[in-house]
Structures are given as structure tokens and as C-alpha cells.
Subunit: 342 residues, 2 copies
Amino acid sequence: MMSNAKIKNMEEFAAVSGISRPTVSKYFNDPESVRQTTRKRIEDALAEYDYRPNIYAINQNRRLTKNIGIVVPYLVDPFFAEIARNLEQQCIEAGYRPTLFSSHGDQDLEIEILDHLRSLKPAGVLLAPLGRHSKKLEIEKFCAEIPTVLFDSSLEDFGLAFVGSDNPQLSTMIVEYLCRTGEPPCFFEMANPSNPNANKRRQSYIGAMERLGHIPMIVRADGEGWAFEEIGRSAGMAALKQSNFKTNTVLCSNDRLAIGLLTAFYEQGKRVGFAEDCAIRIAGQDDHPFSRFTCPPLTTVAQDYKAISRYSVETLFAAIQGEVKPHEVKLFAGQLVMRQSA
Amino acid sequence: MMSNAKIKNMEEFAAVSGISRPTVSKYFNDPESVRQTTRKRIEDALAEYDYRPNIYAINQNRRLTKNIGIVVPYLVDPFFAEIARNLEQQCIEAGYRPTLFSSHGDQDLEIEILDHLRSLKPAGVLLAPLGRHSKKLEIEKFCAEIPTVLFDSSLEDFGLAFVGSDNPQLSTMIVEYLCRTGEPPCFFEMANPSNPNANKRRQSYIGAMERLGHIPMIVRADGEGWAFEEIGRSAGMAALKQSNFKTNTVLCSNDRLAIGLLTAFYEQGKRVGFAEDCAIRIAGQDDHPFSRFTCPPLTTVAQDYKAISRYSVETLFAAIQGEVKPHEVKLFAGQLVMRQSA
DNA sequence: ACTAAAACTTGTCGCGCGTAAACTTTTTTG
DNA sequence: CAAAAAAGTTTACGCGCGACAAGTTTTAGT
């Protein structure tokens, strides 16, 4: 059926479809905007001839493209890969073209990505900043230029909105659970957390412990970068040898640290879990995609991935379509995921 | 220092830099192609005025863009995220603009991505196809149109080259290791593997076992899709209950399946490893980023990520720069990674 | 059936840049 | 220092499409 005549541009395509070029152009911008009969004629021609409008010519002339930038700090972390997948899907469903970028934990790369994004003239950007290391001024400038929704990790009140998890709620919930079912937890975190969520979680841990009449016990892991599992393992090993965990329960700042800590305990021959013969209980925070498959499976509090990604996209599109709102902070509650590690 | 005068286009920028527009254009295409003195004048102006050529106007007029498409089947798998990261980095170093796409295990999405890629007019594409499910004809057509290097998973002789691991070598090495150090391994794989590598690994397992005088024992896991861990866990559980593993050693078709199987054994209270008190040995194939952190850490054969990504990029760029070679198959050897699981 | 609104047509301009030809200036070279 | 080579300038065109104005046809509403 497909005719072999090659269509070079919209002019030629308009000719073979029997419709004028401006109308064809209108169709490609929004198929609903033309009459049913002309729409059919165009789509018949589309079925017969292989033509697609030149995306560069389109974007050059449209003030706003249909591009959406998605930037995550570290794509090798399946947590971000999973969120990115959700975001991508929802952008496509809304008729936009998402482009995915990862800063790979490098703040210079993050700025380069924003720079590249600028020249892409996106309709909007969904940005999970690196956190503590992000070059604030440059990001602020970017948010002022291009409609941007921040997620996962907030940066002051930059952008249209911040969408993330209610860290105090997450941490409080798991602290209370751990206290209710055994010894109060120590808190295991990185000494220099690259993510502001870490600070909120520490504060929430301290608050929850004090409310329950316990003394907060914080164990800090040395190490830089985004290799959280390895940091959790090596620093966990060190803490173990120095008996830094004062109770038989450890709450980790995030699941990846917990995964590393599980390995450390395994290597020391200590059983982890709530059973009789276990030496220690370990819990995480995030519900990382792999947490269900650790040994023992990791008890944690789940972030509401879907709600976060859905609300981020909705907020961005509302703003793109002209809705004006003051900066909003939207936090979603987490859910306790009880498995065998605690 | 930065002047606040806004530069709209190359015309204006040429004016303020005191150089003619064609020369400025030449500079942006290749800074080396202009005289040192004029280069300095342009770069001085660049430092003072904030101007970047419009990428859409550039790409509309250049027959070939500087875009490189990177397509992986499933980005939530850190294995692919890691390879993608390497590929990305090398493209950037070579002065190209990589764009990352994930098929998310969906063959229709894979075709859509290729379609979108076509309209991006990339200089080249690095493609890890979905495997068995990929719509061959469409991919073949794509490879014929655009310089494409296939990696990880081959599809006949499509594209400029296939770059991957020497699966027979990988499988043979680990089979020999397992046989040397204990009972010969059963082989645990998905009943309908979505990836052709799985078939090669099964064949290699069978060959290696026969050469060593053992009878191959294959256990097949039911399940569809890319949730390998869950398939490994549930099917592993079933196989365990039905005593389908005839020896105390299991070689898994890939690490993610092994990770799920570890969980199944854990849930059944069976210790995994080579120690005296262990019920079973489990080994994987790939050296997944998380394999070092499973409990016990997973013995596996490592794919040479770096070599694969480097050679893929080099081959693509050689072709882009005009080098003509017949279709090449480049396989890299793996390395035994001995940990505690086997 | 008549009228107004909606949709389409023709024609024309401009976006920002690549590219090429013809000419001029600067640099290199023997 | 003259001649050749290299680099830069001027001028002009074209890429494929969005956008708009003015006129024409179709549709919807009474």
C-alpha cells in the first residue's frame, strides 16, 4: 500500500493529501483542530505516504517545543531509574517528548545538562537536583528561565514546586515501629550526606526518639560519592568492629546504605532479622526496587513513587498551560513495608 | 564582565565579535578550523556576551547532526544503566550529544523510539535490542538507514557491528570452576528467555558439562517480562519444593535470576555458599552492580563493561567518519569473580 | 433557505543557520 | 620581497516549517 514516492516536506505532503499546507500544519500541531473529513484525508495520505514533519524546522519556529527534560542525579540507582520511567511514561501520554538525563553524581555535569536543556527550549523540566553539591545559583537561574518542577530533593523554593516524600512522616513511622517491636534503633547515615533528605531524616529520627523517651544514637559513615552500598558495607564493618551500634537495631538513612550494611553483617557472620537467633535488626527507608530481594528482605518505608511522579508531571503541565500558582511544596506519605530484616 | 546586551542570533554575535558570520559559523562547527587570532576574538566575545547557536537551526541545515542515540532494553536494570553511563561519557568526550532511551521491555516502545530517533537524524545509534521480542524487520530497516552498532544482544547481522560478551567463554569458565570445586551445576534459566544471550549460555553450559563428562541438568523458570528477580524467586521456590535441583550447585543464566534465587533459598532457611554448613552453591553470570552486595556475595563471571562500551563507541565513530568495514562481531572475554555464594 | 460562524485556501514573510561563489586580506614560503 | 596559499569577507540562497492576513468555501443554526 505504501507508495514509494518520497515526500520531502510538508508542501509535497499537502499536495498529495489534497489539503493546503497551513491546514496540514495545523493538523500536526493538534489533530483535533481540523474537521473530521479533512482529518481523514490527511490520515489516509499519511497511511500511504511516509512523511513526518521535520522536528528541527518545527522547533525552530515554535516558541515553545513539546520537549520535556527529565534530570535525575544518578541513574544507575534503580530508585531513580524507576521514577524516571514513570515520569517518562506520563509525559508521553500527555503528548510531550521527554528526554532523560543523569547527572551521574557530578555537579559540573548537572550544570552542563541544564545548559544543554536551555538550548533545547523545553516546555518544562522535571529536575531532581544533586542536593548539597548542586550549584545553587545556577540552578536558581535556570528555574527562573524555564518552568521547572523539583522532585525528590528540594532546593530552597526554586522552581514551580517541590514534590517529594514527607520525610518526617516516613522516619517517624519506622522509628515507632522499631521501638514498638524491639530495642530502639540507632541511626546509620553518611557523614556528609549529599542529599538534603538525609538531614530531614536525621532530624525526624532524633525527634521521634525523643518523643518516645529514648536517646538518639547516630552512627556516621565516612565516604564520598554515590556508591552508597560500598560505603554502607565498609563503614558498617568498621562500626561493627568498634561496637558503635549501641542497640540491636539499626535504622539506615536509605535502603542502599542498608543493603551495604546487610552485607557487612553477613560477612561478620551475624544473622539479621527479628527472629530469636538474629543478632541485629536492620531497616531502611525508600523501598528500593531491590529491597524485596535482599537476604533477609529489607524492612523499610516505601516512598510513593507513583504519586510523586504523577503530581510532578501534573503540576508542570498545569503551569505550562498557563496556570499560575505560588511555589508549592507537596509531600506524600510513605508506607511501612514489613519484611524480615526488622 | 558579562554584558547585559542580549544576542539574538549569529548575525548579532558576529557583529559584536568583529568577525563575519560565515567565519563564526565555521568556528562553531570546529573551533580548530579558524586562525588562532580570530579564534581568540570570538572566544573573547563569547566570554562577554551570552550567546549559543540555535541548535534547531543548526540541525535543520546540517545533513548530519552531532546526535548519538543510545537505546537500552530496560534501564531500571542497573546493568544497562551502567553501560549507558559509559557510552554516554565516551560520546561526550568525542564531542557528540548522546540521548538516552529505554525500551522498558516493550517492543512497541522500542519501535517508537527508533521512529523518534529517525526524526532526530542522529549521526549514529548504539542499540541494545530487546532480543527475542524485537520486531526484526523494523530494526533491520532502521539499521540500513542509520549507522547503528548493536551491543549486548545481537540480531542476526544487522547494523555495522555487534559488540558483546563471549558467552561460550563466560559460561564455560564458570562451569569449569564449579565442577572443579564441587558438584556439577544445574542450569537455572527462564523458560522463555527474552534475550538471545540466554540461549547461547544454555548451549555453552550444555557443551561444557558434556566435555567434562557430566549430564546437563536444566531447570526452567516460568514467567514473562523483565522482573527477573521475582521470577527467579518464585520459580526458584517452586523448583526447590519439587526438588528440581539435582545437585547442590546452581548456575543461573544471569545475575538477576540468581539474586531472586538467593532470596528463595533464604526464605526456605537454606544457607547458600561453599562453606561446610551450606546447603547449596549459587552462581550467576554478568557481574551485576549489586552482586557484590548480596548475602552471600554472588560468585559470577564479569562482563567487560568498559571494553564493550569503548569498542561500541569506537566502531560507531569510525563508521561515521567514513571508514567502511564489513559487519563485524566483536566478543570480549569475561572474568571469573569468586565470592562467597559458590 | 438564509446568515453567521467555522474551517479551509492562497500567498507571503521570517526564523537562524549552513553553504557556496567571488572577492579581498593576511599569512606563509622559498 | 614577490607569489602562492590560507583565511576571512560580502553577498546571496535555501532549508522546512510556523504564523498571519485576506479571501473563499463549508458547516451550523434559526
